[in-house]
């Protein structure tokens, strides 16, 4: 079977398994249920559908300039995809700022394809028939870094600044519930309900968490990126909404990505 057919077959298994998980009566952690689901999938991962679509989108001529994204510099030079996810976020001289993959793709859609920023960010979190180009592109580009160690640099002063700001954001307590990212993610071996919470200040946990995003979310039937993960955390923190692919989110991603340095990248993964 080609990847698309195989992934489509996998999706049917996925629905059945999700149903089984709901019916399960035994006390069992969510992580164990997801492990069973992963085992049932074997080598297959529904994210392959997104990866295949993303590769096609990368190569497709689009926008007023009728150009593809194949000359986009996402960190290792124009057109280099292999390994690029492991060095992001990083400073880009042409924009004069630190960018993560999603912010950088917006830049390339603007400069190479002539697409407006608003259009580039349209449907950034897809749902059902309203599919997201960005989630597909990120799924494919990220998959091209599988097996490579995270290697995010703080050599440029702007990179160091982004890291320090991201760290302050991580510990920033506010809102009606007094929550910070750190409330749930700065101690070892905690759970919210049955969901295990990574301690993102601990390199081992940070590596395991960061290197498995983006993820195919079983509960949502979508591939979700790090931008989405952070957006949903802030929703539950009762904060206002962080702008998509904004400098603020990039700074927080920089903190998390650098803490994960040395971890072997292995995504898109399958998630709860």
């Amino acid at each position: 079977m080609n990847p698309i057919h195989r992934a489509a077959a996998v999706l049917c298994v996925a629905s059945a398994m999700a149903g089984a998980a709901v019916l399960a009566q035994q006390p069992s952690s969510t992580e164990q249920e997801i492990e069973k689901y992963r085992a049932a999938l074997g080598e297959d991962n529904p994210a392959e559908l997104w990866e295949a679509r993303g590769e096609a989108l990368w190569k497709e001529k689009a926008g007023p300039k009728g150009a593809s994204l194949e000359r986009c510099d996402i960190g290792l030079g124009p057109g280099v995809v292999k390994g690029a996810y492991t060095v992001l976020p990083k400073y880009f001289a042409d924009t004069g700022k630190v960018q993560d993959l999603e912010s950088r793709l917006v830049t390339c859609m603007e400069t190479l394809q002539g697409i407006s920023e608003a259009d580039a960010k349209k449907n950034h979190f897809g749902s059902g028939p309203k599919r997201s180009k960005m989630e597909a592109l990120v799924a494919w580009i990220a998959s091209e870094s599988r097996g490579m160690p995270m290697n995010v640099s703080l050599a440029h002063p702007e990179e160091k600044e982004a890291y320090e700001i991201g760290k302050r954001m991580f510990f920033y307590r506010a809102g009606p519930h007094d929550f910070a990212c750190a409330t749930c993610h700065s101690r070892d071996n905690l759970r919210i309900r049955l969901q295990e919470l990574p301690n993102l200040t601990n390199p081992k946990d940070a590596q395991r968490a960061y290197t498995t995003w983006p993820g195919y979310r079983v509960s949502q039937g979508e591939v979700r990126t790090m931008q989405h993960r952070i957006n949903d955390c802030y929703r539950q923190q009762r904060f206002p909404e962080p702008g998509y692919a904004s400098d603020a989110v990039t700074a927080l991603v920089m903190y998390l990505a650098h803490n994960a340095n040395g971890g072997v990248y292995n995504a898109p993964a399958v998630k709860r």
Partner: protein, 196 residues
């Protein structure tokens, strides 16, 4: 656009400290959505102090100051009754909605106690951010003094344990007086499953 971006970065670098830079960046890049307005990014004294000392011990003088100030904010029920309906309390403990941009502000919020605490043994899906509260009344007693303590502890945890991870459910208007009484009953009614 490049010039604008460069100007933004220059402004950040010119800031005296990264805390301020982080706040400025959040205020630039976060957008109000639903009931989650931008003023939620403004910290009160407790939030500012706890952020400053995150990851290191809070000096005892700071802890005492916070606890004293926060204790004064607790409004105990005028009728002197603390114990509500434990069955309603169980529902509040199970419910996690409230105050998120995705929530309907006209609907009552939950306390989401099970997200962080073990309570009834019938509920296996509980978190471990806070301590187990199973057998709370059986261990601590069912008297009015304990009821009043628990009411205050839920209303404003900062009054008892500065920089606690637990939200100030009463002081921040997350739960109503009646809802807090119901949760007190979940912990302290001898018939509640928490005490079985």
């Amino acid at each position: 656009m490049i010039a604008l971006a460069a100007a933004g970065c220059a402004a950040l670098r010119g800031s005296p400290d990264e805390e301020q830079a982080a706040v400025a960046l959040m205020k630039k890049d976060f957008k109000p959505r639903g009931q989650a307005t931008l003023d939620r990014l403004d910290q009160d004294d407790v939030q500012r102090t706890c952020t400053r000392y995150s990851g290191r011990p809070l000096p005892p003088a700071e802890a005492q100051r916070i606890e004293k100030e926060q204790l004064a904010l607790i409004r105990y029920p005028a009728d002197g009754e603390y114990l509500g309906d434990w069955k309603a309390g169980e529902k509040i403990a199970q419910t996690g909605v409230g105050k998120q941009w995705s929530d309907d502000p006209s609907r009552a919020a939950g306390g989401n106690c099970y997200a962080c605490h073990e309570l009834s043994h019938a509920e296996l899906s509980y978190g471990t951010i806070g301590p187990s509260l199973y057998h709370f009344g059986r261990t601590r007693g069912f008297g009015t003094d304990v009821q009043k303590y628990v009411y205050g502890r839920i209303y404003n945890p900062e009054a008892f344990s500065a920089c606690s991870s637990m939200p100030r459910f009463g002081a921040h208007g997350i739960l109503t007086e009646k809802q807090i009484k119901d949760v007190v009953a979940l912990l302290l009614d001898p018939r509640s499953p928490v005490n079985q």
